[in-house]
Symmetry: C2
Subunit: 253 residues, 2 copies
């Protein structure tokens, strides 16, 4: 059976994340239902990562081995006809047998969007975190850079599923601002539970003067979650880039 | 009583336009309810225009004369606490007695967004019109410019409430493209029913080769709705700029 990878984009607001759950609607369940109805195949997709409830994916990869009479290049349109408006298959490809969306992934980039204005803006509801406080942008930008490199990230991990190691490598972590919109982009070889949301919370705390950017290495060394900033809400977070040996998925413009 | 103008922003997806209706939820009704609960005053707002069901407003102005014990500069936060996430009051000001959001408005700009890609994108659901066909961008851009000037716009008006005159002045009408996103911006001294959606439909027809850009003046002269392009769906349309003698409201970045 061919190993088929689907490139997705989804708005996570209505879902309890990617991964199948018994008592909550997830993107995996909705997509697998669409595959069943379209091809007659009951598949179990391997997704590039668990995204949390309410988190979006500008890009996402999920694969499984399954037979289909529909040519692979027509699979996206056939599946989209069965999918709700908040999930789309953008492309489908046959990949080598050993390819796995989760384990073959080399780097992931997440983008966290903050709407930093005194007044809320309905256009950013469910797309950005509304943060109405004045920020020292110089401190914000310096704080973000402090997370780059290979570190133990236990102090920006939420309690949850235990992992063998809390050491990860962050290739870049920087903030850009355009008007009232602030974006933190962080690319790494892996992420801990709620890590990007806690990094962004810590960076905003630096912008408020509650944490000195220079203290972030100390906070990381402490491995103490109580010293870093708050976990921001999921609505501002999206998966924005995926790097595999075979291809790189970039956010469409 | 002071004449108070509220500057709004709203996502129109859930509403049957601005204007109060007996049997459908409108932005005006929701906002007047919030004013009643916040100030105890039953007001009848004058809005800068009827927006159709499903149309958005990046900027909007509505005013009424009413008493409030809350200082005007605190009114936005007080009202926002009572408003749903898809409507926000961004600013409130006291304006001269003769100011009326509708009749004092000199120019309005609408922006129509088209997502022109082979594949749908969940990030633009309810924010753009999905148009998966290949467009001749040169024809698109030339077609848009043909609507500029003072013309009788009857051929891009939908049947509906009768108006005295179908002559309007369009100060600019142009298309920009960034990746798969295409934006048509049109500013005029007034607009007929569904006019921007029909102009955009006509411009896209030019991009498909169904209408020659050079024929648009002929279509306008004909005053015949059947010769122009289709009325596009409301989700791609937003009010993006308002010009008054007293101030100009620009879309926030």
């Amino acid at each position: 059976m061919p190993n088929i990878v689907l490139f997705l984009s989804y708005i996570g607001t209505a879902y309890h994340g990617w991964q199948f759950q018994q008592n909550a609607l997830t993107v995996q369940e909705v997509l697998q239902d669409a595959i069943l109805k379209t091809t007659g195949q009951r598949v179990s997709l391997s997704g590039c990562g668990r995204t949390d409830a309410g988190v979006h994916a500008r890009v996402y990869a999920a694969n499984a081995k399954f037979e289909t009479s529909i040519p692979v290049d027509r699979l996206p349109l056939a599946l989209n006809a069965r999918l709700p408006d908040d999930i789309a298959v953008r492309e489908a490809r046959i990949v080598p047998d050993g390819f796995d969306s989760r384990f073959s992934c080399r780097r992931k980039e997440y983008t966290y969007t903050v709407y930093n204005s005194r007044m809320k803006d309905p256009f950013y509801t469910d797309r950005a975190c509304f943060f109405p406080y004045k920020l020292d942008m110089d401190a914000v930008c310096r704080a973000a850079r402090m997370f780059e490199g290979t570190h133990d990230f236990k102090s920006v991990q939420s309690a949850g599923s235990p992992v063998k190691s809390t050491v990860r490598t962050i290739y870049h972590c920087y903030v850009t601002r355009s008007g009232d919109l602030l974006e933190l982009r962080v690319e790494g070889n892996g992420f801990l539970y709620n890590m990007v949301r806690a990094i962004t919370g810590t960076v905003l705390y630096a912008g408020l003067g509650k944490i000195a950017p220079e203290d972030i290495p100390v906070i990381l060394d402490s491995r103490d979650r109580s010293l870093s900033g708050p976990t921001l809400p999921p609505c501002g977070l999206r998966l924005s880039r995926l790097v595999y040996d075979e291809f790189t998925l970039e956010s469409p413009v």
